[in-house]
């Protein structure tokens, strides 16, 4: 009895262990031969902009290339889960997609992991490549100097505000805060006068993934005197005042209940709620978010809302105390990359070219409300018309900054999310959260690669 029960216990624990450790990704589409290209991209919630765009290009491509097939593999997952599932698929030749949609912040990590194929040979003979802006070309460059992805657009970040909510709160219809305090003051006015609206959304949960790191936190940090990474010494910054101040901003927002309720704030679908439910229903005042939000409100989007351009105002995110240059923005963007284990790289490249014909590139830039990275798209009439509706987000291109997209960045980004959520929930003080972040960063990059600036 004794031995048997003990053995059973061990086996039970062992089974749990085995179940947790063997990462099977499943869903490997067998067969298909050499003429099917599998295209992996993220799809979460109602948003179908990418799916619609890819379907239209797929139809063109299959008509132009008889016998070749495009298989779309939407990975239905929230932000962080998407990267996890993608990484699991890319690990094995039996499950790998041929073409993957990679966020620029992750691409260096995946390059280092050996998941992606360098595209230099293809790019050398591709005339359109000269249309791409230099920053965009650099976005998908590995530390080895090779290029691994073709960017399909970039973005900027700033403040969206709902004019109806502002009117009720007695705030001006044309609003441009000069400091963080101005933003908080407006949020407090909304909290008092429009109690049924969320005053201000600032992403601060682990579930929002990179949205928390970039929109929620780095948009604050890069408006202080500090940054994440010191380019001159090539070290990661720890213990900075700007980092602490940014966490204190989050503490103020959630401590004073100026943000979404705890349940909404930690929900992975918060982004969808902000765009699909709250903005159209005048249930939110201000959102610190991305230039791409209107893609939700396009006729092809998840929540068509043609009035958005007049119902919503746009403002640049101010620096902490209004110090020069007065406003801050960050840019990221996504790229198309070819999996290194793909057996059909040449055909996958042909599909990238199809995605990036001048007409298709402009189509996606408009439907996805992207900031163009190609000079021919930037001059396209439909693009310039659409773009004119987001003047502030186009204007901040002049001050926008990029993340330190080194291979370690995704891990550091995770730690930012941990710090932000622990402050948002009140579990840790900003000081404690900063200390935990600093320790974690030292563990990730090594003590000698950090600086207190």
């Amino acid at each position: 009895m004794r031995g048997r029960t003990f053995g059973a216990g061990l086996i039970a624990v062992g089974l749990g262990l085995a179940a947790c450790s063997s990462g099977s990704s499943g869903g490997s589409a067998s067969g298909g031969g050499t003429t099917t290209i599998k295209v992996a991209y993220q799809q979460f919630g109602e948003g179908k902009v990418m799916a619609n765009f890819l379907t239209s290009v797929k139809t063109q491509f299959e008509a132009a290339n008889p016998g070749k097939k495009i298989e779309l593999l939407p990975i239905v997952a929230s932000e962080n889960d998407y990267y996890t599932k993608l990484a699991l698929m890319l690990r094995s030749p039996r499950t790998t997609p041929d073409l993957v949609y990679e966020d620029t912040f992750l691409i260096n990590s995946d390059i280092q992991a050996g998941y992606l194929k360098p595209l230099d040979d293809y790019l050398a003979s591709w005339a359109d490549w000269s249309q791409f802006a230099a920053t965009a070309k650099g976005a998908a460059k590995g530390t080895d100097g090779k290029t691994y992805g073709v960017p399909d657009g970039t973005d900027t970040r700033g403040l969206w505000y709902n004019k109806a909510v502002f009117a009720k709160a007695g705030l001006p219809a044309e609003w441009q805060p000069k400091t963080w305090d101005d933003v908080l003051t407006a949020a407090r006015a909304i909290k008092t006068k429009v109690p049924d609206a969320v005053p201000l959304n600032d992403y601060a949960s682990k579930a929002a993934g990179e949205g928390t790191s970039m929109q929620g936190f780095e948009m604050l940090l890069y408006g202080t005197a500090n940054q994440l990474y010191d380019a001159s010494s090539q070290k990661w910054v720890v213990g900075s005042k700007g980092f602490l101040d940014s966490l204190n901003f989050i503490k103020t927002v959630y401590g004073e209940k100026l943000g979404p309720s705890p349940q909404d704030a930690t929900d992975a679908a918060l982004g969808n709620k902000v765009t699909q439910e709250w903005f159209p229903a005048n249930k939110i005042g201000i959102a610190l978010d991305g230039s791409w939000l209107p893609n939700t409100w396009q006729p092809t989007g998840a929540k068509p809302w043609p009035q958005w351009a007049t119902a919503l105002g746009q403002a640049a995110m101010p620096t902490q105390t209004g110090q020069a240059p007065g406003k801050v923005s960050l840019s990221g963007g996504w790229t198309w990359a070819i999996a290194s284990k793909s057996p059909n790289a040449d055909l996958a490249w042909k599909f990238i070219q199809a995605l990036q014909t001048p007409a298709n590139a402009a189509k996606y830039a408009v439907e996805g409300t992207q900031i163009a990275v190609r000079s021919d798209v930037a001059g396209d009439a439909t693009y310039t018309t659409a773009n004119a509706k987001t003047p502030v987000f186009t204007d901040v291109v002049s001050v926008t900054k990029y993340r330190p997209a080194y291979p370690e960045y995704p891990k550091i980004s995770n730690q930012i999310q941990v710090a932000a959520e622990s402050v948002m929930t009140g579990q840790e003080t900003p000081e404690q959260a900063q200390k935990a972040y600093d320790d974690a960063v030292k563990g990730i990059v090594g003590n000698d690669k950090t600086t207190t600036q």
């Binding site: 749990g16 990267y83 891990k411 622990s422 929930t425």
Partner: protein, 288 residues
């Protein structure tokens, strides 16, 4: 000898399968726990042997220590105390109850146990959520709404686990109690023993081995609870309900650190073994 080998032959395929699919992953886990293997970045291309680095990292990390404490709390409150005591009480009560009550009570309790983990987790989420049914009831009777999923998440998931797991203990104890000869209890009653005395001097000592076996099984089950907590709170808010399995999942799959995640798994295995050994010591009969 030859004959014995021949007789064992049919077992070979099963043994091989067991070794490959059960011990293979465990061995891989043990190996991975000593490497920096990860989902992306350098550890994905060329994982390296890093010695005990993952274990040192765990023992110096607040996140890990927080998870260990939460796991112990969750296990003690929901399994050792909650499921165990409630299961025993129910079994004792049902022994006395009339048949229809027994049938009904049993069906309700076992119903909770039969529900899949995720469904149970979702039911509790819907019950305790901000707009959930509990708050609707509280508001109707004029009480303040609760927000346990946010303010006391570890207690909320513990209660859900008690609700879900009590049936198992109840079944074990019902079986054990039915083995106690009626005459012994009657004899004690005739001798003037009160109900309390009968419970502590007759009933409990006689089902002692069942108590220990039950404790061991529910402890091991509870240590590895994942789906229930993941559905209800995802380990949050922050890390306020992040028990070891959730911590392990976050490190391995959200943060891509497979090596560290498997090191946590090994330590979870050790915690489980420690509990098992403890119970085995306590189970050892005082006299044969």
């Amino acid at each position: 000898m030859k004959q014995a080998a021949g007789r064992g032959a049919p077992l070979v395929p099963a043994t091989v399968l067991l070794l490959v699919f059960l011990f293979g992953p465990i061995l891989w886990s043990i190996y991975a726990a000593f490497t920096n293997t990860s989902l992306s970045g350098a550890g994905a291309a060329h994982s390296q042997f890093v010695g005990f680095a993952n274990f040192t990292k765990a023992f110096t990390s607040n996140g890990f220590l927080n998870s260990v404490l939460l796991t112990l709390f969750f296990t003690l409150v929901s399994a050792v105390i909650g499921q165990n005591a409630l299961g025993l009480s129910l079994a004792l009560w049902m022994r006395r109850a009339v048949a229809p009550v027994r049938a009904f009570g049993g069906a309700v309790v076992i119903g909770a146990w039969v529900l899949p983990e995720v469904v149970a987790g979702y039911l509790w989420y819907a019950f305790l959520a901000k707009d959930g049914s509990l708050n609707a009831v509280l508001e109707r009777v004029g009480l303040h709404p609760q927000d346990w999923l946010f303010s006391l998440p570890i207690l909320a998931v513990s209660i859900a686990n008690i609700w879900r797991g009590t049936a198992f203990s109840m079944l074990v104890y019902t079986a054990a109690l039915s083995d106690i000869p009626q005459e012994i209890e009657e004899a004690a009653e005739v001798d003037g023993a009160t109900g309390r005395q009968r419970l502590f001097h007759i009933t409990l000592p006689m089902i002692r081995s069942s108590i220990m076996t039950n404790l061991m099984l529910i402890t091991l089950q509870t240590l590895s609870v994942f789906g229930l907590i993941f559905t209800m709170t995802r380990g949050g808010p922050g890390t306020k309900s992040q028990t070891l399995p959730l911590y392990m999942y976050e490190q391995a799959f959200s943060f891509g650190d497979l090596g560290y995640g498997t090191a946590i798994a090994i330590m979870l295995l050790v915690v489980g073994s420690v509990f098992s050994l403890l119970y085995l010591r306590m189970l050892a009969p005082e006299t044969t």
